[in-house]
Symmetry: C2
């Protein structure tokens, strides 16, 4: 039935439907824009990394072990922001796949030195190449100078934080 209320609502709905979405407040927030940009890049990442069967975290771990052989799980845990219990099962999976090795540290048998296997290194190199390429594609609307500046501005936000842990 066309009550006065309904008539009013109907026109309000039509009005809203015709309007482009106003997200001006959100678009002024740095955090929101970071997330949106990240969510634009990550699907391409996942698509290209499917052939290596690597998620973003897995890739991060492999790259860090590639550049930092023999670091401990504790240090890796902080670097990738994954809690020790969750890192343990992540590493279980990579170890089962023959990509990573855990070696008891002879100097302190509580800790373990993490290294890539030969196969892990091979996969990591291929994955790194793929990621570097895909990143350029996903940000192809930026000039090299713009991309460099973007990275530099983003790092200003988080780089101080990490100095504490090194």
């Amino acid at each position: 039935m066309a009550t006065r209320q309904n008539v009013k609502l109907a026109s309000a709905v039509q009005e809203a439907a015709g309007q482009p979405l106003d997200q001006s407040l959100l678009l002024n927030l740095v955090g929101y824009n970071c997330r949106r940009a990240y969510l634009t890049i990550i699907p391409l990442f996942e698509e290209r990394m499917k052939k290596f069967n690597l998620r973003a975290v897995d890739f991060t771990v492999l790259t860090l072990l590639h550049a930092n052989p023999n670091i401990t799980q504790k240090r890796l845990s902080k670097a990738v922001n994954v809690s020790p219990p969750n890192l343990a099962i992540l590493l279980d999976r990579l170890e089962e796949r023959g990509l990573v090795m855990r070696q008891r540290n002879p100097l302190d048998k509580r800790s373990q030195a993490l290294v890539l296997t030969a196969e892990g290194t091979k996969l990591c190199l291929k994955a790194e190449k793929t990621v570097t390429e895909l990143e350029l594609e996903a940000t192809s609307m930026l000039s090299d100078a713009e991309r460099a500046q973007l990275v530099s501005l983003l790092q200003k936000i988080f780089i101080r934080e990490e100095e504490a842990e090194g």
Copy 2:
């Protein structure tokens, strides 16, 4: 026992422990930097928004309804990147709290027009103020010009995508 293997490993571990973490490859990736910057801002967001009992998604929904009264769930679902089933329960919670209202569209009774209640509007305004302030704090190492440029560069990455849906 100090086998030759163990001695070698021990020195490798010590070497690794003394070294600062090399994350040069990751730090050249736009996606990685976006995520790191986002993960730096979001804890402050969560801390400040605790008093409003709002998660990031909840805030996004409220702000969008504030700026776009009477939009449908379908449109909101796309805008906030939450699937219809998950949006339904998110809105259930906001509705239970008396912040949001769902009104059947008299023109098409399948859809619903979403609006903030008076209380929802009040909370949203306070939350928007808090978020705007916290964002400035979290990015206080950037000048206004730098912040504006950062936002502009980030939007270049994702803005084209969204033109399709409006």
